[in-house]
C-alpha cells in the first residue's frame, strides 16, 4: 500500500538519488532503458508493503539487478543498436566552469570496464562508501578498493591531456 506521506519522501528520494541511479543503470543500459529500470525499481519500492531498512542501498542494488537482467534478456542485435545510441547521449548536464571537460569525462567513464565503472559511479556520484559499494556489488571490500583505484588511474591517464592545467 502507498502511504500518503510517502509522496514527499518519494520526491526527495527521487531528487537526491534519481540522477545517480540513472547514471548507474547506464553502466548496462541506454538512457531510455536506464530510466525504465530506475522507474520500475521506484515503483516496486512504492508498491511494496514493507519499506527496506536501507532504501539507498536497496535502490542501488535493485537497479543493478534489474539493469543486468534487462541486458541479459536483450538480443545481440538490439544490444549493438543500444550501444550505438548510448554513445551519442550525454551522461551529464553541462554546467559552465567545470574543471573537467564533460565529453572527455564521459568517454573516460564509458571506456572503463563495467565492473570498474559501476564502482566509480557509486563512489563519486552516489556518495556511497566503499563498504556499501562492496555490499551492493557483492564483492570483498579490498576488491572494491582495488577496482576503484585502478579505475581512477585509468581515467586519470585518459583525462590528463585535457585536464593537465588543473592537475598538480
Amino acid at each position: 500500500m502507498i502511504p500518503a506521506e510517502s509522496d514527499h519522501s518519494l520526491a526527495v528520494l527521487l531528487q537526491e538519488l534519481g540522477p545517480a541511479l540513472v547514471l548507474y543503470a547506464r553502466t548496462w543500459a541506454a538512457r531510455d532503458e536506464a530510466e525504465d529500470v530506475v522507474q520500475r525499481v521506484f515503483v516496486r519500492l512504492l508498491a511494496s508493503k514493507r519499506s527496506p531498512l536501507e532504501p539507498r542501498s536497496w535502490l542501488f542494488r535493485c537497479v543493478r539487478n534489474e539493469a543486468i537482467s534487462w541486458r541479459r534478456s536483450l538480443r545481440r542485435r538490439l544490444l549493438r543498436e543500444r550501444k550505438r545510441a548510448r554513445a551519442t547521449e550525454s551522461l551529464f548536464d553541462f554546467h559552465p566552469g567545470e574543471a573537467i571537460d564533460l565529453h572527455d569525462a564521459q568517454e573516460a567513464l564509458e571506456l572503463l570496464p563495467a565492473h570498474q565503472r559501476e564502482i566509480v559511479v557509486l563512489r563519486i556520484w552516489s556518495g556511497l562508501t566503499l563498504a556499501e559499494i562492496a555490499a551492493i556489488t557483492s564483492i570483498p571490500l579490498s576488491t572494491a578498493h582495488d577496482r576503484y583505484r585502478s579505475a581512477l588511474a585509468a581515467m586519470r591517464a585518459r583525462l590528463e591531456p585535457s585536464w593537465k592545467n588543473t592537475i598538480r
Partner: protein
Amino acid sequence: MEKYDTVNPDEADLENALGALVPRAPRFTSQQLAFRAGLIVGQRQANRWRGIAAAAVIIGTCAFFGRFQSSVLTIDRANIHSQAQSPDEGSAGTSPIIAASYLQLRDAVLRDGWIALPPASGGGNVEPGVGVMSTQ
C-alpha cells in the same frame, strides 16, 4: 575499514573534478511514479478480489452439489455372510447353512402358512395346533 575510503591527493583531485559533473536528471516525475505504483497496487487488489470471488464460486458450487448428494435416500441392507465354520468352534453355535435354511423355512411359513412345513420325520400323526402347555 576507513583506510579503504582514503585516497591520495591526486586521486582526491580527480574525485573532486569528476564529482563536480552533474548527472542528468531522470525525465520522469515522482507523480508519474506514484501513479504507476498506484496502478500496480490497484491491480494487485483487483487480483486479490478476483481470487476471493473464484474461491467463493468454487466453494458455492461444491456446497450446491454436496446438498444434493446428502439428500439421496440410503437404504440399509442386511447382508448375511456365510462364514466357513472353523474347526475350533466345534459343534457349539449354529451352522450358517442351517441358519440359512431356517430363515428360508421361516419365510416360507410366513408366506404360505403351515403347509410350507416339511412332513414330520417321526412318522406320527400329530397335527400342528395350539396346545395347552403344562405348568409342571
